[in-house]
Symmetry: C2
Subunit: 441 residues, 2 copies
């Protein structure tokens, strides 16, 4: 038979089982955090009408999109979860309860040139709280708090840098720079790379007060910012909002470090209030591992009804890559089963019973019965898969109903009754945070 | 602003939150069952090279596929999880441990004409056990047992009808009908629809022993089948395999009813041993809700190494539709939060603390603080969302540290300390099987 070369597209993540277990564990932790926060799940199609997905998109987005015709339909693969969310709300708002609090975890697709580390297919994890009436600032705090909870549950320390688009917009008004907003924000965005002098030079082309403007963007606290005598009211409204949100976060006892950072902009339009971005403390690269903000009009392109909201998005695939590369996933287990049963050939049937009892107790188990492998081969297989505990099942064990359970990592063994084994392993799983799945008991 | 009509493609499932919660619950139960059975997770890309996905496919499959060009690449969206699995094994077998036991849950895409009930995007849930050496029949029994466990965990009774392709192939040899296999199997497949006489007439065009052949296909037990004096050895090999698998299932105490059914064929090639199909007992339609079988050469189109295996696949989206239509999902909860907190305006900060404590105990909670809604509005919102318990937080509660918890369904109220509330709600969740997510504690 002629063979086709097996290969996977560049930019599409495909993991070996050990890594996939870690990835799924991260995904489950994020979903669990969304769920305990009382958010509703959403799942929209991967494919949509191009007209719908591109209702807003500009030239750059369109180039990145997987777009094609099928029959009479012009179709696109979704490139984010925000546009499908807007469509969903415009389509079903009569049936939704507001505030509508949702999360969605799913793959999105960007057909851009594959660069190093750039993925063409990746998971995004989004949450949003939207309302058909005024949405309180507690909602903004909730999004930041959930972001903090997620990284706490992932055992990663983050700093969340917050800003307010009202402050940025107010400053541009204050300096009469609204018409050259894009250029100004681009220059300020590159400040860290090009340095103070070059930034000043570029800004001077737009305003005579370039130095003053640049000095303002060096300010690190809301209090210092307030000390300036701005004429523009929007700046103070933005400061006041941020203060209130920080106050709520304090009362919520949000664990992540939160700092004010005027350089956080998050795109040129869309956001209208708070904007924020999270970075990992334990790596040097300043990569955004989660970001979001407040917006005014989610469904503007689809309907007249207005829905304002606040949301946060985590790029899971990129986050996984980053944590993996920096060895920050080491504390997670990489095994598909917690217990391996190794029955002697005449005791396979008895092993079935023990297997059933462990499963009923939600203990992931693999029965290593394989007759055509030697005992040594089977031990090797169990070791390679990283299974935590081994129970050998033979005549003595079945007669006495006492089994030896061996910790495959420490080598430690214990002789226990089956019910004691269950307690022991469940305690171990609880302590080591090892239940990989939804626990339906 | 000019508006774009918000719409979703026909044949693409998109659920309102209450239904989405049920759907995700089903998905989680299936994943949980795979995990406790010690299976490794897999996640392959939605997009693949067309050459890879179509390595085997014939004309009919190709017509159904979403295929398009992007740059120099000829791409397809996956139409099942089996071809990507074969590619994965051919690509990574050096790094895998055999037997390789895997599951994958993901969306697949078929661009066929949308008929009533036909989905173009749907979830498939697959498990496979494959080996690079001979794979024992216990593996076949494991697949059937996992299928049984899944439906037991979903609270649905099923019957699993089993057959063996060796029996079918042996019978075709016995009757010298191998060359007209496709026609014969097509005729037999339609037997229930066209009736005995018409079937006999059609078969007679192929063999003089049409009546005898048809009578054999009426046989309902392996024992009766064995009584025939066939010359062909393959038939008896097939019978012997099935007997062994049924014997193992008996020892595994598999809960589902298993029956022998010669009419189960499952496609024309691919399978080489046991084939099986599950039907729901509580509905009249004989719809397959899960199916699978044994195959000889998974990766034949990609490499010379041979991997034989056995697998099972569940079409989750179709199953959800079926159960929902037949009101068989009623016992599942449809709420995103278990507890609603309703603080009086001056006690929102205290509600934050209680919210945190509930979340730490994995209790999904929503803090209904919204200031611009009346008390009545908020109660309405909680009722509409179907949240199970309500805790009102005011001065008395904070002072006494005793809270009234109201069961929103029964109306029953109790006054309890917070730690008692946690115990009470956790007990309720446990009993009612209501933890929607992976429990990471």
């Amino acid at each position: 038979m002629q063979k086709t070369k097996a290969r996977t597209l560049t930019g599409f993540m495909e993991l070996l089982p050990e890594k996939q277990i870690l990835f799924n564990k991260m995904k489950n932790i994020i979903e669990h955090t969304f769920i305990v926060n009382g958010l509703s799940p959403m799942d929209t199609p991967v494919l949509e009408y191009s007209q719908v997905l591109l209702a807003k998109a500009g030239g750059e987005t369109e180039k990145q999109i997987y777009r094609f015709a099928k029959g009479d339909n012009d179709l696109c693969m979704r490139f984010d979860l925000t546009v499908p969310f807007a469509k969903y709300v415009a389509l079903y708002y009569h049936d939704l309860n507001f505030p509508f609090r949702r999360y969605q975890i799913g793959k999105v697709f960007r057909g851009e040139r594959a660069q190093k580390g750039r993925l063409r297919e990746f998971y995004q994890c989004d949450m949003d709280i939207i309302s058909n009436s005024e949405l309180e600032l507690i909602a903004d705090a909730e999004c930041i708090d959930v972001l903090s909870q997620i990284f706490e549950n992932l055992n990663q320390e983050i700093v969340i840098r917050v800003n307010n688009r009202k402050i940025i917009n107010g400053l541009l008004e204050e300096f009469n720079l609204v018409s050259s907003m894009n250029e100004i924000l681009n220059i300020l965005d590159k400040k860290d790379k090009i340095g103070y002098d070059k930034t000043l030079q570029l800004l001077s082309a737009h305003t005579q007060r370039a130095k003053y403007l640049l000095d303002i963007f060096e300010i690190k606290s809301l209090e210092d910012l307030e000390l300036n005598n701005f004429k523009n009211k929007l700046i103070y409204k933005g400061i006041e909002e941020l203060k209130q949100i920080l106050n709520i976060l304090n009362k919520k006892q949000t664990k992540a470090e939160i700092v004010f950072d005027l350089s956080i902009i998050r795109g040129l339009d869309y956001y209208t209030g708070i904007v924020f971005e999270a970075n990992l403390k334990n790596i040097n690269e300043k990569v955004s591992v989660g970001a979001g903000g407040r917006y005014d009009n989610l469904t503007g392109h689809f309907c007249d009804e207005k829905f304002s909201g606040v949301g946060v998005s985590i790029g899971l695939s990129r986050l996984f890559d980053l944590l993996d590369k920096n060895n920050l996933l080491n504390f997670f287990e990489q095994t598909s089963a917690i217990v391996a049963l190794l029955p002697f050939e005449n005791f396979i049937d008895q092993a079935f019973c023990i297997e059933n009892i462990l499963k009923e107790n939600n203990i992931p188990v693999e029965n290593v019965y394989y007759k055509n492998k030697s005992f040594k081969n089977k031990l090797n297989y169990i070791n390679k898969k990283g299974i935590n505990f081994l129970i050998v099942i033979g005549e003595d064990e079945i007669k006495s109903n006492i089994f030896q359970i061996k910790n495959m990592i420490t080598g430690e063994t214990q002789k226990l009754h089956l019910d004691e084994i269950i307690k022991y392993v469940k305690e171990y799983m609880k302590e080591e945070n090892k239940i990989l799945s939804y626990n339906n008991q």
